[in-house]
């Protein structure tokens, strides 16, 4: 349990406006929380601004979110969280199929297409880790060297090995459950003797059923043969602590965030609604880290506050102050405008919001790369009915996947891919099990025992395989702002332009073919179909596919070796503004086939060290602690 028995250090507009801090951090998600915790522990005076509600700390607050999800008609990935009109968030159902040349301005995001992306993020304390699923895979060494190895995309200004200690620190902070033995593929190296903090989530019945028929199946791609194997997926979810962790010192899981110790937070119970909210707080969310930051007594939190403009000294390029808007009522118009000064500013509001704030401040960067190179994983969903009940809707959303094709020489020609086996049935693709109920009642006129049996027959056999496809940085995929589109507070809304390249689509087509083979091998009945009227519908090679977003926004303040073609350096520091850091997935130069959270958390440990060094404080112990494990 994370608790001090003390009410949290929420501060007020009056206490903050006009003040100076060592460091001001915009955003309380995982990036901001990691940096705040590291700096607070070293005695820096830190202010964290959060656009959403600050009433998200007690177990009762959390319970309100759980109840909001239970009571919500649409179970979208933000359905557990209040959506304030003064700091709105994207909702996937706002996405529409766009006719050529059209745009969609209905939701918070303005979508210009050509591909409508249904990705979202969460503007609430703890950020998008509140709704994330919790997969915590490392990127592969190859992912950092895309240009050198495959002539595609960009190289990072740092190598996988440079991040190893920070990956370890992130795995500790997030509390990753997984078995390193299962992660021996694609050049992944965890270092000798390393184990993750907790043992792997047990494989689901479905995973084991699939492994039995699938393990050993071979796939040939660009002349290279890959034997497939079902492997456990590391995830930031409380499981069984590994006594061998940290040289035998073991690991103490962090439970529920609470000021009042009503509850402990538990190990995963398999409720299968990790997205949008774990009912028992077994899943990591950044409030845990943030709460630890607040407990240092050096970190203050100003919630209900949107950062609106960075002001820069024209002579030095230094950020001189930050303008922010604090609202009292989440929905009614009205707010106060304040300013705050700091030695160092950190934007940690996610790749879309960081770019939005920079562009709203007229800071496109000397390279004009701010907002460009927008990346996200493209998900192709494929689904089938297993020949026998397979136990759908038990366990966390995914416990295993197929990782063997995450890298290879084929990446010269087409995107990398990994596959996840879903324990939550067809939910993502079809809205199951609610849609199954509707189908059985409306179309098959079933009721009573026949309806119950129908649901059992249909739901328990569902198998969904998601294909997570890499997207390369592309300067025409971007976040921009436009004075025509502002939110209620007058802040510009993010304008998204996004398209899928043949590099990505080739792997979508390959994955669809592979899923057909897999379903055949399992004796499963393929139910995959793609609606031409659905957002994300694309054609490639004469076949149609629906691509879904992964909520892994990245690349908008891309990391590089020079100010000419990148926005930040390898510590996430702005080339143009020496006291400004842009933190999070926006800095990533590639996203490979790992969801971004673990890697961006690792980057933020690195950034905290750089900030401390800049402020003349010794580097924090985090990386060295991790290295000891």
């Amino acid at each position: 349990m994370t608790t001090s028995g003390k009410d949290p250090a929420l501060t007020s507009f009056e206490a903050v406006a006009g003040q100076e801090f060592d460091v001001v951090i915009v955003g309380s998600g995982v990036s901001g929380a990691v940096i705040a915790k590291q700096l607070g522990a070293r005695g820096c005076r830190v202010l964290v601004l959060e656009a959403g509600s600050g009433n998200e700390i007690t177990v009762a607050d959390y319970e309100e979110s759980v109840q909001r999800f239970y009571g919500s008609q649409r179970k979208d990935n933000n359905s557990a969280y209040a959506n304030p009109r003064n700091a709105p968030m994207p909702r996937d159902y706002e996405t529409r199929k766009l006719p050529p040349g059209a745009s969609n301005t209905d939701g918070y995001l303005v979508q210009m297409g050509p591909l409508e992306i249904d990705s979202t993020y969460t503007r609430v304390l703890g950020g998008t880790t509140r709704h994330w699923e919790g997969k915590a895979l490392r990127m592969l060494p190859d992912d950092f060297r895309m240009r050198s190895l495959f002539g595609q995309g960009r190289d990072w200004p740092l190598a996988y090995n440079d991040l190893d200690a920070h990956y370890r620190a992130a795995e500790r902070e997030l509390g990753v459950a997984g078995d390193v033995e299962d992660q021996q593929y694609g050049g992944l190296d965890f270092g000798p003797g390393y184990v993750l903090p907790m043992r792997k989530m047990p494989l689901s019945y479905l995973d084991r059923m699939i492994a039995r028929d699938l393990d050993g199946m071979e796939v040939t791609l660009a002349g290279e043969t890959f034997p497939l194997k079902v492997r456990s997926t590391p995830q930031a979810r409380n499981g069984v602590p590994n006594p061998a962790y940290d040289e035998g010192r073991g690991y103490k899981p962090v439970g529920a965030v609470s000021t009042h110790q009503e509850d402990k937070g538990e190990r995963c119970q398999g409720n299968t609604n990790c997205v949008p909210i774990c009912p028992v707080q077994a899943k990591y969310d950044a409030r845990r880290t943030l709460y630890a930051a607040l407990e240092t007594d050096n970190v203050q939190l100003l919630a209900w506050t949107v950062a609106s403009r960075l002001e820069v000294d024209g002579a030095t390029g230094q950020v001189s102050q930050l303008e922010f808007k604090t609202y009292d009522d989440p929905d009614a118009p009205g707010h106060r405008v304040g300013h705050v000064r700091a030695k160092v500013f950190v934007l940690a509001a996610n790749a879309v919001e960081n770019a939005r704030l920079m562009l709203a401040s007229d800071l496109p960067g000397s390279s004009n790369r701010v907002g460009r190179n927008l990346m996200d994983h493209m998900y192709l969903l494929t689904w089938a009915l297993m020949p026998k009940p397979a136990g759908a809707l038990r366990g966390p959303i995914c416990t295993a996947g197929i990782e063997d094709i995450r890298t290879g020489a084929y990446r010269r020609h087409q995107a990398a891919v990994r596959y996840s086996i879903h324990n939550d049935g067809w939910g993502w693709a079809t809205g199951s099990p609610y849609s199954d109920l509707e189908h059985l009642v409306e179309h098959e006129n079933r009721f009573g025992a026949a309806l119950r049996q129908g649901l059992i027959d249909r739901v328990s056999r569902q198998f969904l395989l998601d294909c997570m496809i890499e997207v390369l940085p592309d300067e025409s995929n971007r976040v921009s702002v436009d004075p025509r589109w502002v939110d209620q507070m007058g802040n510009p809304r993010p304008v998204i332009s996004f398209g899928a390249t043949p590099y990505t689509l080739e792997t979508a087509a390959f994955s669809r073919r592979l899923s057909r083979r897999i379903f055949q091998r399992l004796g499963a009945e393929d139910h995959t179909h793609y609606d031409p009227l659905a957002p994300g519908y694309v054609s490639h090679g004469g076949e149609g596919y629906v691509l879904r977003g992964g909520n892994h926004w990245a690349g908008t303040h891309i990391m590089g070796t020079s100010a000419r073609d990148s926005v930040v350096d390898s510590t996430q520091r702005s080339w143009d503004h020496p006291n400004l850091y842009l933190a999070g997935a926006g800095s990533m130069a590639s996203i490979g086939t790992a969801n971004t959270t673990l890697t961006l958390a690792a980057l933020c440990f690195r950034t905290a060290e750089a900030i401390l060094a800049g402020l003349g404080t010794h580097a924090p112990a985090a990386a060295t602690t991790g290295a000891r494990a």
């Binding site: 994370t2 001090s4 028995g5 006594p243 073991g250 009042h260 190990r267 119970q269």
Partner: protein
């Protein structure tokens, strides 16, 4: 069960068996109160009760670990292990009985007695603090008797004023026997220990017991989580003791660090004493109509609870991995709880699980 001063291993075993019985005896009353809260209401009260019930499971397991460590055999399937409520606590606290009843002020007042602090670190010296005395206005009539009884010669029956004092007697017994026998006292098979991999809470987890130090650490954890023998609201790990957790419900406010006993200054705890299934106190199977679905459900509950105890017993007797499965069985019990508690009995009360566990 009557207890006399620990003078040999058999006496130690008897005390630890009583300890398991004691820890377990709190669970049905806590669960009855917990699940009598109408779902979706009283969330703070629900979590407070739930957290305490979960820690009682931890204490039960720690007591089982100590018993295993000193060569005993935990067995939760023996007839009488589960008391018939209303019941006295098995450590000989004779001034109050525990009911299985709905979430109510009366229930919380009983829980305060269950978790009440020890009378003082120094044996025989009454150091009851004012705050505690106020909270316990009903519970003190006989404490003088209990106090004297604790220091009787070895063959006389022991009575303890509090669970804390009971564990103090166990700790003293452990130390005495260890001084006599050395490490031979800890003759149990370490493979029988249920370790932190099977249960944890960040406030203090399960530990394997293999020697005097770990046995004392386990006792310390039980005592401090329960009633705070040190008279502190928050224990050495910063965790709030059960006694004060419950008291927050009556006082309507959370404790914060630095608060004086009886005067919490944290946020308000909203309690709706009416959003509760009005379950019959200490219900019996015989209260439910013969042949009714309700009666079948209540019997199913008792069987399921018996199965749960059997599985736990097997976990303690050499199959620790079954512990996880046993805990998983609590989900089924919770479902049955709600099914049963929703049934009105026609006299203004609702049904409740009866904990009449079938044997054989």
């Amino acid at each position: 069960m009557s207890l006399t001063k620990i003078t040999d291993k058999a006496g130690l075993h008897r005390h630890l068996e009583a300890a398991m019985q004691l820890e377990h005896a709190t669970i049905p009353p806590y669960l009855n109160a917990l699940y009598s809260i109408k779902p979706g209401t009283n969330t703070e009260a629900f979590h407070i009760l739930r957290a305490v019930a979960v820690e009682e499971m931890l204490h039960l397991t720690l007591a089982g670990n100590i018993l295993n460590a000193v060569g005993g055999t935990p067995d939760m399937t023996v007839p009488g292990f589960v008391p018939l409520y209303p019941a006295y606590l098995p450590d000989g606290e004779t001034d109050f009985q525990v009911d299985c009843q709905a979430f109510s002020r009366a229930a919380i007042e009983t829980f305060l007695k269950i978790e009440r602090p020890a009378q003082g670190a120094t044996p025989g010296v009454d150091t009851i603090h004012k705050g505690r005395k106020r909270a316990h206005h009903n519970g003190h009539k006989r404490h003088g008797t209990a106090l004297r009884a604790r220091h009787v010669p070895g063959n006389e029956e022991e009575h303890f004023y509090s669970i804390g004092e009971f564990y103090q007697a166990i700790e003293e017994g452990l130390e005495r026997l260890h001084a006599e026998m050395g490490d031979a006292l800890f003759s149990g098979d370490p493979a029988r220990q249920i370790g932190p991999e099977y249960y944890y809470s960040a406030g203090g987890g399960l530990m394997a017991v293999t020697d005097l130090a770990s046995a004392k650490a386990a006792i310390r954890l039980i005592s401090e989580q329960g009633e705070g023998v040190t008279d502190n609201i928050f224990d050495y790990e910063g965790e709030i003791a059960h006694y004060y957790r419950f008291e927050q419900l009556l006082l309507g406010r959370y404790y914060q660090k630095g608060d004086a006993r009886g005067r919490p200054t944290g946020r308000e705890v909203a309690v709706d004493w009416d959003a509760v299934f009005p379950i019959k106190a200490n219900a019996r199977i015989a209260d439910f109509p013969e042949g009714s679905a309700l009666r079948q459900g209540a019997e199913e509950f008792n069987r399921a609870y018996g199965d749960f105890l059997s599985l736990l017993t097997r976990a303690f007797q050499g199959e620790p991995a079954l512990f996880v499965e046993a805990v998983g069985g609590m989900f089924q019990l919770k479902e049955l709880y709600y099914q049963i508690m929703r049934q009105p009995l026609g006299d203004g009360t609702h049904a409740a699980p009866t904990y009449e566990i079938p044997h054989g």
